[in-house]
Every structure is written in C-alpha cells, then in structure tokens.
Symmetry: D3
Subunit: 100 residues, 6 copies
C-alpha cells in the first residue's frame, strides 16, 4: 500500500553520523527547503517527493526527519522562463509546424 510505504520512507535510521552530529550540537540543523515546480503535479507525486527529499536530507546530513520542512511553490507556464522565453511561449512555438 502506498501510504504505508511513505510512512516508512521518511524515517531515518539513527546513523553513526547522526550521533556525531548530536554530540557536536548540530542537531538543530533546520533544513528548510523551498521547491519550485511547474503547476500540475498530483497529490501522489507531492507526497512521494516530500518523503523522498526528507529521506535524502536526513541520510546525507545526519539530521532527524522532524527538523526537515519543505515548502512547495508552483509556477504557471508564463511564470517560468529559461533564456528569456517563458514555458508557455516555448510550448506555443513547438506546436507550430516546422515550415513556418
């Protein structure tokens, strides 16, 4: 079942690295993460990515999962641009037949 897999995912085993971090007083390490996405992700995807990032962070940095907070901000297709062209404009151009 999906939900219970998530449940397991976000727990970080108490690694040696974490015990060291604790002794050094870095336990209060507060990873706060802002993630910018294009609009349109499903609830399922959002839950999966929150669990996976948290797992990644607490394993790599040796912090407790409870200290990890993630904020997602979604951006519409006219609110994100690469090289000065919004995603919406790029998409329009790609739908134009080659010859034009």
């Amino acid at each position: 079942m999906r939900a219970s897999r998530n449940w397991a995912t976000y727990r970080c085993v108490s690694s040696p690295e974490r015990r060291i971090a604790k002794k050094n007083g870095k336990e209060e390490s507060m990873p706060i993460i802002e993630m910018h996405l294009m609009t349109g992700r499903s609830v399922e995807q959002k839950r999966a990515v929150a669990a996976a990032i948290t797992d990644a962070v607490c394993n790599a940095l040796g912090v407790k999962a409870e200290t990890v907070r993630i904020l997602v901000t979604e951006h519409g297709s006219e609110d994100f641009s690469v090289a000065g062209v919004t995603a919406g404009l790029r998409s329009e151009r790609q739908q134009v037949p080659e010859g034009i």
Copy 2:
C-alpha cells in the same frame, strides 16, 4: 474601530535607537520579509499580522515603517511537509479511527 487601530499600530515612535541608526547611515535598512503561511487566513488576519510584524521590526531595529515590505505566500496542504509528511497526509491520518 479596527481600521484606525491598525492605522496607529504601524507607526513607530521615533526612538533614540533610530536616531542613532540614522546617524550611522543604516536608515536604508530595507527589511524585506517573506512570510509563508498555510492557505486560509482571513483578510482581517493578514492585515493584523502585517501591522504587527512591521511594528515589531521597526521597534526592534530602529527603522522607519516605510522601509518595511512584507510578501505573503500561501501554501496548500499538499505543499508543506514536516518530517516528509505533507500537512494533507497528516490530516488524513489523524481522521482515521485509532484501531486501523
């Protein structure tokens, strides 16, 4: 009346600390504040918190209220997670009867 109370709230009296700041050329101190909230706050609450934060900042740092700008971004229940669990998922779990 509510509005006039707000009106008063955001004015910071010209504290000695501010006059010192001014002499030191720190008047251009530009507090720009981004506040992330869960969706669902009322207009009344948003106006109250903007006034209260501004008041807090200009008193504590000795800056003019006019230099304080606040940007609020609201996040839906699937766009905020603690410990790898989104607020939406957490809420679902809490509504499930204990025995399950």
Copy 3:
C-alpha cells in the same frame, strides 16, 4: 510582430566581457531570479519582462542567455504590505472621501 521581437531580444551578443568570464571559468554563473509581482499582469507583459530581464542580465554579467532562469510569484492585494498596510487596505482608504 511582437513574438519575433522577443525572439531577438533574449539573444546576447557574444561580448568581450563574456569571453573573459569564460576563460575564468565563471560561465557556469547560473543567474536564478525570483520576481515578486502583484497579480494581474498579462501574458504579453510576462513574456516581455522575461525577455528584457534576461537580456539585461546577460549583457551586464557576460553570461549566456541559456543560463538565466526566472521564476515569477504573484501576490494578491492582501499579501503585500508596505509600512504595515496591505495594498488592499491602502486601496480601500484611498477610495474613501477625504472628509471621513
């Protein structure tokens, strides 16, 4: 035609400054830009500002347009305040006749 003007706008000519940047290994300069706007800009305006900022950045810093990413976040009138007064509240006050 508007679109083709944008098309041209975001290309940065390969300036001497850029060739220097390249030699110094700063080509990976990654300007990532977050722009906060009041809600209500048209698609046309968003495309124009994305092109114009990208052009400005790549000319001034000597980087390739492809490295410039822009994220726009829009804020409603109760989600932006100056001096402790939200834009919405300020707007209400300005519509009230002077004598009140």
Copy 4:
C-alpha cells in the same frame, strides 16, 4: 535583565482566537519567515527582532510560538538596490559635495 525579557516576550498567551484556530485544525500553521537585512545588525538586535516578530505573529494569527521559524539573510551594500542604484553607490553619491 535582557535575556529574561526576551524569554517572556516570545510566549504567546493562549488567546481565544488560538483555541478557535485549534478546533479548525489550523494549528499546523507553520509561519516560516525569511527576513532580508543589510549586513551589520548586532547580536542583540537580531535576538530582539526574532522575539518581537514571533510575538507579533503568534498574537495576530493565534498560533503557537513553537511553530514560528525565522531565517535571516544579510545583504552587503552592493547586493541591494532601489531604483537601479545599489546602496553602496547611493552612499558614495551622498558623500560627494553638492557642487560636483
């Protein structure tokens, strides 16, 4: 004594508004605040403003102080501009005698 005043400052009394928020399940309201300041604030000022903002937020929104997190980012004088002029450049200009 300063520290003990701070100690008191950040506690929010349990207001009626908060009890309502709790019933509505908004207790998980997570105000996360990013504050941008010019460099140069003292430790004392930073502690005072953190306490004051937290107090302001939990009173205005009816949330527990423990849910309020504040991140400060400091910007040097060439890293902040108004009207296209950095604070450093503005400062240089203001030191030039009028006649020039």
Copy 5:
C-alpha cells in the same frame, strides 16, 4: 571511492513514469530547490546532499537530473530562530548549569 559513488547517484534511470511525463509535455519541470542550512557543513556533506536530493526528486517526479538545480544558503547561529529564540541564544542557555 566516494566521487564515483556520487557520480552514479545522480543518474536517474529512465522510469516509465518519466516517459509518461515526457508525453504530457511536463519534461520542462524545472525543479529549483533552495535549501537553508546552518553554517558548518563540510564539502563532502554538501556534495552528498546535492546528489541525494537530486536523485530523490528525479525518481519521485520522473524528471531528468539535468533539470534539477539546488541553491544552498547557510545561516549563522543568530540568523535562525525557533519560537523567537535564535540558535545562538538557545545554545548559550543550554550551557548554563541547571541551578541558575
């Protein structure tokens, strides 16, 4: 060897979910991630967490690793507070003997 492990880590296998994303035109999904950390992480930790988060994101969302950008901002102990108390102040208090 550490480096080669990282090398492997950030490659996402081309999952079925990704092929679907591609067909739907969501490949341009641009996850841009800002991570706030307390100062003091080692180079090794920063490289590990960048690889791990990227892996997590591209697996969970079905995007290409090349689209994932991560920006880290570090905050000093007086630039992060929970419940109105900066990490620095909290640390000072914890070093005071219990009886005081």
Copy 6:
C-alpha cells in the same frame, strides 16, 4: 563617465503604458527581485546589472523605477548544483586529465 551613465540608465521614460497602469491603480506594482549569483562578481558588475534589470522591468511593466527593489544572494561553488553535482565538484572533474 560611468556613474552618470548609470544615473541615466535607471530612469524610465514615462511611457503611455505606464500612464495606463497608473489609471488602473497598478502603480503600486512592487517588483521585488531576488537574484542568485555565484560569488565573485565585481562591484562594477553588480551596479551595472542592478541598473539594467531595473530599466528592463520598468520598461516592460510600465512601473516607476522607485518601486523596483533587487536583492542579490551569492552562492559559493559548493552551494550550487546542477544534476546533483556541485559547481565545485564539476570544476574538479574538468581539471582531471581525460585519460583518468
């Protein structure tokens, strides 16, 4: 002279588009821009890019230069990654002779 050129640069001529914006009450449009750069830009570059972006924004959106604020945050080579590889690690790899 450089400084006076900047001085001119950030003034936006009062375009028709701006007069329209004013009538619609959108003058309070508050573009607040956060720009993330790799460390190492010169003061000259920072002043040039602040002027150029501001000019771009006020021309494209029809707002007054005085409403445009820009915050720059610089990131070290281990604090920025693309595809899970920090700029520092990527740089190390590129210096390794091909055969290894």
